[in-house]
């Protein structure tokens, strides 16, 4: 599903990540690592938000050679999402729907699942951080990406919403074969997620640790 080829990321002279070669099969991955280990950097690289040396393939689509098709196959939700305060949630949802060519049925279903409909017509500047988080999760699921990356998805999320998110992850994985890379400092309810695998980011390299079948 995801292949890294001679992938390195540096900030100035400091090398943050070095992944000579790594292949990850479809699945649900819990990305672990200490603060500053490069988890978010890795996710942003995969999402196509940061430049790096080497290449990353998602389902044989090269980020370097097929940037549009690659970006269609991955999606991402930020740990602390920031959106223009004067835009309304519905504007961003419509924008994502158009860019990702998603169906209205899917968008309606997602806004229903994450219970954001009641406030989508209000400017984002009036949302609480939890409401912005829900919106970012809706946006991440829009379209039919093969891989969805969620950076700290549980932060600021209501307790009621967490099982809903787990359910959607499980459903997307089983029904649409969507893979997930989830970075979280909080303990994920591993029993709620099927076939979760643990990826560790340590000293600039990545290691696949365990399976939880």
């Amino acid at each position: 599903m995801l292949t890294f080829t001679s992938t390195t990321k540096s900030y100035g002279k400091r090398e943050i990540l070095s992944i000579p070669s790594l292949q990850l099969d479809a699945g649900i991955y819990w990305l672990q690592g200490a603060n500053g280990s490069g988890k978010t950097t890795l996710l942003r690289m995969i999402a196509g938000l940061l430049p790096f040396r080497g290449d990353i393939h998602c389902n044989d689509l090269s980020q370097r050679k097929e940037p549009v098709a690659y970006r269609r196959s991955v999606s991402w939700a930020d740990a602390e999402p920031l959106y223009p305060d004067f835009l309304k949630g519905q504007d961003l949802v419509a924008f994502y729907q158009e860019v990702r060519k998603a169906s209205t049925e899917q968008v309606n279903s997602l806004t229903e699942i994450f219970q954001v409909r009641s406030y989508l017509a209000a400017p984002i500047g009036t949302y609480s951080s939890g409401m912005v988080k829900r919106l970012s999760l809706v946006l991440a699921f829009i379209g039919r990406p093969s891989l969805i990356m969620l950076d700290e998805p549980l932060v600021t999320l209501d307790k009621d919403c967490i099982p809903v998110l787990y359910q959607l992850i499980g459903h997307s994985y089983r029904e649409q074969n969507t893979s997930f890379l989830i970075s979280s400092h909080q303990d994920l309810a591993r029993s709620s997620l099927p076939e979760e695998k643990i990826l560790s980011v340590h000293n600039g390299s990545i290691q696949l640790l365990t399976h939880n079948s």
Binding site: P51, R71, F86
Partner: protein, 370 residues
């Protein structure tokens, strides 16, 4: 101690962020005024003094002129107050709400001193106006010109006091972008919502300069070089807006880079945005064509401006360098424009600039570190 913190946080930051605009206005008032050979009995610095003296006389004697100056000063004071107000609402400045614990009178004095420093250029100029007014015996008008900026400072301080006590939530969007929205619209909404004063100021100055300068052309005297250069200055006045767009895009719209949009379509969004930004200038020049300026020159003028806007935008995709460095870079571009105008290569220069803007965008878009 508190005042020193406010000074560093608001005053220094304001002047640092707006250095480009202030220099631009200074050049407009002091640098761009040239003496016509044999037309004036004053030369060098004396000419500048005489020019400013005449300008102040105009302010004091014409009600309309005085009104325009009053409005411009009000707009500047509004910009200063909004700057501090917006900074107070930023997440990293929430600590300032502790100031609410201070006595209201002391807090008002602190904000008043901040406002005085922000409006210092106006206050200094108002003393020059007062001097001329006393010299001419127009005491009332002179005193009015001193009281007015001080009153603006007091009003601003009172508003900041209110803002600190009752942090306002963002209001509804000024212009609804519609259900299906395009990326370029986000920037226009941002300009209308958060950069209204900068945007309006640039457009008023830009259109005013264009209108006045093109109207000087006659069939006997049809030398476009000065107009191209003045328009170049105006276009470089847009640098602040372009920089703010990119800065804002980096913080609020960084998700766009991860969306499945082709580079050509992305470039198209910026190309459309800057074409729309230039609409007021297009209307002004179009209205004066062909009576005052010929169509080919109109097209050359607009192409030069448009290509420079796009190039400035593309330059900020190499890296989001500090504004000061960016302004230095645009100054370098202006020098190149100057040489091109003087050599009569403007059309070739514009083509080259446009090609460089496109090339830079294609080469750098996915390669910069946000």
């Amino acid at each position: 101690m508190i005042f020193r913190i406010l000074l560093t946080t608001f005053v220094r930051r304001f002047y640092r962020q707006n250095a480009g605009q202030l220099i631009f206005i200074f050049i407009l008032f002091f640098g761009a005024v040239g003496e016509l050979e044999g037309e004036s009995k004053y030369t060098g610095p004396l000419f500048q003094l005489h020019y400013q003296y005449q300008l102040i006389l105009g302010m004091l004697s014409s009600g309309i002129f005085m009104g325009v100056v009053g409005l411009a000063w009000f707009a500047y004071a509004e910009k200063c107050t909004r700057f501090v107000g917006a900074a107070l609402q930023q997440k990293d400045h929430t600590c300032f709400y502790i100031l609410n614990a201070l006595p209201r009178r002391r807090l008002f004095t602190l904000f008043f001193r901040v406002q005085i420093l922000l409006l210092l250029p106006l206050i200094i100029y108002s003393f020059a106006v007062l001097g001329v007014a006393i010299y001419k015996g127009w005491f009332l008008a002179g005193i009015g010109f001193i009281i007015y900026p001080i009153a603006l400072c007091a009003m601003g301080a009172a508003r900041l006091l209110y803002r600190l006590a009752t942090p306002a939530g963002p209001s509804t969007v000024f212009l609804h972008p519609g259900a299906r929205t395009a990326y370029w619209k986000f920037f226009l909404l941002y300009a209308l919502r958060h950069q209204r004063i900068v945007f309006a100021g640039i457009k008023v100055i830009s259109c005013g300069i264009l209108f006045c300068s093109i109207r000087t052309l006659t069939t006997e005297y049809y030398d476009l070089r000065m107009i191209f250069l003045l328009f170049g200055i105006v276009i470089f006045g847009h640098s602040v807006l372009i920089y703010r767009f990119r800065e804002w895009e980096e913080s609020m719209l960084h998700f766009y880079r991860g969306l499945p949009v082709s580079l050509t379509r992305r470039l198209g969004q910026y190309a459309l945005l800057y074409a729309i930004i230039l609409i007021p200038e297009m209307i002004v020049i179009g209205g004066l064509t062909p009576a005052w300026i010929h169509w080919p020159d109109t097209l050359r003028l607009l192409l030069s401006g448009y290509s420079l806007l796009l190039l400035q935008n593309s330059l900020l995709f190499i890296a989001l360098i500090p504004m000061r460095s960016f302004l230095k870079m645009t100054l370098g571009l202006f020098l190149l424009l100057y040489l091109a105008v003087m050599a009569g290569w403007l059309a070739a220069f514009s083509g080259l600039v446009l090609a460089t803007a496109f090339l830079l965008f294609y080469r750098t878009y996915y390669r910069y570190n946000s």
